[in-house]
Symmetry: D2
Subunit: 122 residues, 4 copies
């Protein structure tokens, strides 16, 4: 049950889509989550710092992201956090990934019309 | 930071909408969240028990729910849990409410097209 | 992954302990979680409303609660929420239960000395 | 409300303590959170991959960590995730920090005796 996280934020890159040789659909995009905090001196809510994540989805969720999500959309995401170090020929780094269970457009920021899949593979 | 919860489930009633005398838009609906668990004997995922919540939203989120959510939709909701006892003339009961920060259609179950509000009041 | 919640609060009843006829240890207690909110008019943090939960634990966690937790302790709890209606001869009600994965004394409120179990059954 | 996370895991380094020139106590340690997953082929629970975090605490919580937590302890932590890139003379990297609200010894793994602070500063 641990390492579960829920995020709201901005889709910062066009979602990428691929299908593995085994036929597994995968979608991923970068998400910018900017925290809001109450500034007591200014007596108003202000933007805090931004966390960046790579959101990854599989199967039906991946296919529906392809049909539904664009760069600039506001979304809510829930899933499991995965922190992975990587090494290439010249560089090293850390990838902060969220393996998504559910993603939706955040209705705090706009309206949406929804069409259920005929068959759900979940 | 406590009592925060994220839910996925089925919108079980048509959303109700009202505007207070002070002009505050409010929307609410009943949400059925059915847990999935792995049955080792059957070696497959099965439906577990169902939790019922009253999801409540205010301001811009309430207005966008009116324009976007119908009974039968699958959604993801994040917000703060509020447990309240109530008494009427003849009965008592307990209401389990989620004061929603964000709500979206769950793209694990279908596709959606999103239109951002021109001005966001959040 | 849904219906997971983390709570901090006050242990409001002495933990009850029992062992089922199958030998399963169970512990439970009532938890009061009082939310803190920033009152802008008063320009300070104040107590908000209180949510009441029944926290339930099984196996090794139940046994360690018996040896460790008393009424009045401050704790942090993470687990799965279960909402159940009940009926007795004369009354009906709703029980809001947290099926705990982990519980610890909240070190924001005091100090603790910890002794690991020789064998862990988790 | 976003970027909130709850973790359970192993304290992997001795907690470090310092007091800023303004008198603010800070404590931090590395936490290894190893996910458990059910292996259907083996029909048993196995260790999954490990996420590494830097857990940071301030004020009273920091002081109580100094008095209570050692390398090798099992803990439960809840707080806000902060992802920060850093650059030194020769290297760059990413730090995944949890700004803790509450920390406790995980009673799934052992017993604890708790002493409340006389005055709580939270």
């Amino acid at each position: 049950m641990t390492d579960i996280i829920t995020l709201t934020g901005l889709v910062a890159t066009p979602p990428r889509h691929l299908i593995t040789s085994e036929g597994l659909p995968i979608a991923s995009f970068r998400l910018a989550s900017t925290q809001r905090r109450y500034d007591r001196r200014e007596a108003k809510w202000v933007d805090g710092e931004t966390n960046w994540y790579t959101v990854t989805a599989f199967r039906q969720l991946a296919m529906n992201i392809s049909a539904s999500i664009s760069k600039g959309d506001r979304v809510v995401v829930t899933g499991r956090l995965r922190i992975r170090d990587w090494t290439s020929a010249e560089k090293t780094g850390t990838n902060i990934e969220v393996d998504a269970d559910s993603i939706g457009h955040d209705l705090a920021w706009g309206t949406a019309s929804f069409t259920r899949n005929i068959v759900n593979s979940a």
